[in-house]
Each structure stands twice: as C-alpha cells, then as structure tokens.
C-alpha cells in the first residue's frame, strides 16, 4: 500500500514545490525554474505509470516477454524538447522585460507600471 503509491506522492510533492515557487517568488527567472520543476514532475508521473513490474525497455529483442508501456515514453520524449523550447521563449521574454523595466522583480515592475498610469 505505502510503496505502491510512493511515486505518485513524490510527484505531487514536486509539483507543489514548483507551484509554490511560481506563486510565492517575485523573480521571473525563479518562476520559470518553478515551472520547469512542475513540468518535470509531470514527466515523472507519466513515466511511473508506464512501468510494468518485470518489464524491460520497449526495444524488441529475443526472449523477452514483458515490455513497459511505450506510449507515455513517446509523449514525454517530445514534451521534454518542446518544454525546453518554450522555456527559452519564457527566458527571452524575461530578458526583454529586464531591458524595458530595468528589473525582473514582479513588485518593481508593478510599481513602475503604477507610476506610468
């Protein structure tokens, strides 16, 4: 019972740590880091579900009866590369915000916006 759901609980903990970083930190780069922790926890969730006891990697070979589920692997493989590409867009936005506002702290940006209007 305890060990049977351990992976999913760790996933929830990691997901919540990422979520906490996103909502509790004002720094935009730190928020992006939080998002990528969140993202990785989802990867771990999918890959944990794909595992079958006694299975091996899904590469067909002689004399192997049980394979792990290949479908989640495919989904996550592409998601990792898409994840880094979108993270790069986020970082690029942070860089532009730094140039425009001189800061990437949420509160300072808000203060500047309030001054403007």
């Amino acid at each position: 019972m305890l060990i049977g759901l351990y992976n999913y609980w760790v996933v929830v903990v990691l997901m919540m740590i990422g979520f906490y970083i996103v909502i509790a930190n004002g720094n935009l780069i730190k928020k992006i880091v939080g998002l990528s922790i969140f993202q990785t926890s989802v990867f771990i969730f999918y890959i944990s579900m794909a595992k079958v006891d006694g299975g091996t990697a899904p590469i067909l070979a002689e004399g192997i009866k049980q394979y792990s589920n290949p479908l989640p692997h495919v989904l996550i493989l592409t998601a990792i590369v898409v994840g880094i590409a979108t993270t790069a867009v986020g970082l690029a936005l942070a860089v532009r915000i730094k140039e425009a506002y001189g800061s990437i702290e949420e509160e300072e940006i808000q203060a500047k916006d309030n001054l403007d209007c």
Partner: protein, 336 residues
Amino acid sequence: MTSVFLLAFLVVIAVAIVRMRDLLAVSMLLGIYGLLSASFFVTMDAVDVAFTEASVGAGISTLLMLAAITLTGRSEHPTRHKPVLALFVVLITGCLLIYGTLDMPYFGSADAPIHLHVAPHYINNSMQEIGIPNIVTSVLASYRGFDTFGEVVVIFTAGMGVLALLSVVRRAENITKIDSINDSMHAEYLILRIVVKALIPFILLYALYVQFHGDFGPGGGFQAGVIFAAAIILYAMLFGMSTARRVINQSVIQFFAAIGVLLYGSVGVVALINGKSFLDYSALSADPVAGQHLGILLVELGVGLTVASVMVIIFFNFEGRRDVLQSQENNHKGDN
C-alpha cells in the same frame, strides 16, 4: 529500490531550489535535478526519455538559464510579504491531489487501464507493421506521426518566437577585428580549446550515430538534434561568438530550421498524393515495410534538423543580445 532514493534526492534538490536566492546556484541545481530525473527514467525502463532528459535537462537547459542570467542579473530580491497564503494554497492543492492518487492503480501493476488500451497493439504488432525493433521510435514517427509533427511545429514556432524577441540587426564585422578578438581569448582558453577541438568531431559523429541508430536502440531525431546543437554551442563558447557566427551562418541555420519542418510535412503530403492517409508511410514504396523505413528515416531527419537549428538559433540570439547590450553600455560610458 534505486528509484525510491532517486525520487527522495529530487525532492531534496527541489527544496534547495526553493530556499536558494542566488540564481546561478539555482540553475546549477536545476541541472543536477535534470540529471537525476534522467537516472530515474532509466530505472523506469524509459531509455529514450532518459537520453533526451540527460541532453536537454542537464545540458542545454542549464546553458540557456546561464545565458539568461548573464543578461538579467544573478541575485533574487527577498520578497517582503509573507508567503503564508501561497503555502496555504499549495498545501490544500497538494492534499487534494494526494487524495486523488488513492484511486490510482498501484505502481507497476500490469493490469492498469493504461496498459490495456493501445499499448498491447504497439508491442505485439509493430514488428510486422513497421519492422523496427525500437517501439518508441515506431510509435513516435509512424503511429503517432501527426502528433510528433505538431510538436516539431511547436519547437519551430518557439525558435521563431525567440528570434522575434531577441534578434538584433548587426553590421558585418571586419575579419581582422574578429581575428584579434579570437587571439586575445587564446591564452585564457588554451587548454580548453585544444581538448574541445579534439572532442567536437566525436560529438558530431555521435549525434549522427544517435540520429540514424534510433530505429534499433535508444535515440532519434530529438536527441540527435540536441547533441548536435550542443557541439556547436560548445564551439561558440570557446572561440567567441563572432568567430562562431562566421562558421555558422545565421540565415542558413534559420533556413535549415524551416527545411526540417517542411521535410516532415512533405513526406506526409507525398503519402497523401499516393492515395493513403497523411503520414502513412506505407504509401512511399511498393513494399509497405520498406516504405515505413524510408518514411521514418526522412521524418527523423526533419526532426533532427529542426531541433538542432532551433537550439542553435536560441543560444546565438541570447548571446548576440548580450554583445549588443555590452557595446551600448560601453558607448554610454564613453558619452559620459
């Protein structure tokens, strides 16, 4: 058993990231986090995923993080308000999610719903239908080829997004100036340069191996693209951006990023013209299995081209931005 400890380490590192204020240390910890999750994926039999995560999470993502931090500053301001509310929201959400997991089938059980739907078809029939041993590649490129096409388009779009946000118009630099910059870096980086010069051909060769061996072992276009880009980025870091820009022409690499997507799409269109569904590779040749082989080869090539070019574009634009900002700062100092 190993996976239990790896997951515990992941939690420890995530907590350390929460507490750390220095963004440089945070990005290093994120690299460790990526490597550990890659090791976890190996213990879960997901070798292809582990390969991708090791090259992306521990390699390229740390680099991009560092490139961004050099532009935005490395220390985080402490927040003034107390994060009690955030903690409360997170705890409630976490409890609800844990409550949700109680209905999940136990880890590793072979009769979970996820293993009963389409996965048995892939495992039992992919050898007859596609004819390559690596099921992940056959699902990625053939059964769910349309899905992967969408992902490649997303990567391409992300590359274009970075280009739109960060690209700068630069005048052609004269060659003697580039050479003098290059020489001035020489003494500082001598040992690194010699070792890296010896290693880069092997890295590129390995990327090609990963690209074309993806049918038989872990690997494929996504991993190969990232490794290929890593070699180019390594070169750019050690020989200076202006030298690297002379070697890797930016408009050519943008052209390649588009060509990759186009290649993927046109394989689908050729199948369509031959009277089968979009991306049904059995239409490419008289023998359906040979057609599948050809289709997967071309599609993976397209994926590899796009991924490698987009990663290079992203890195070069981050670094190019820094050059421009530095020269602007110098001009400001000169004015004052």
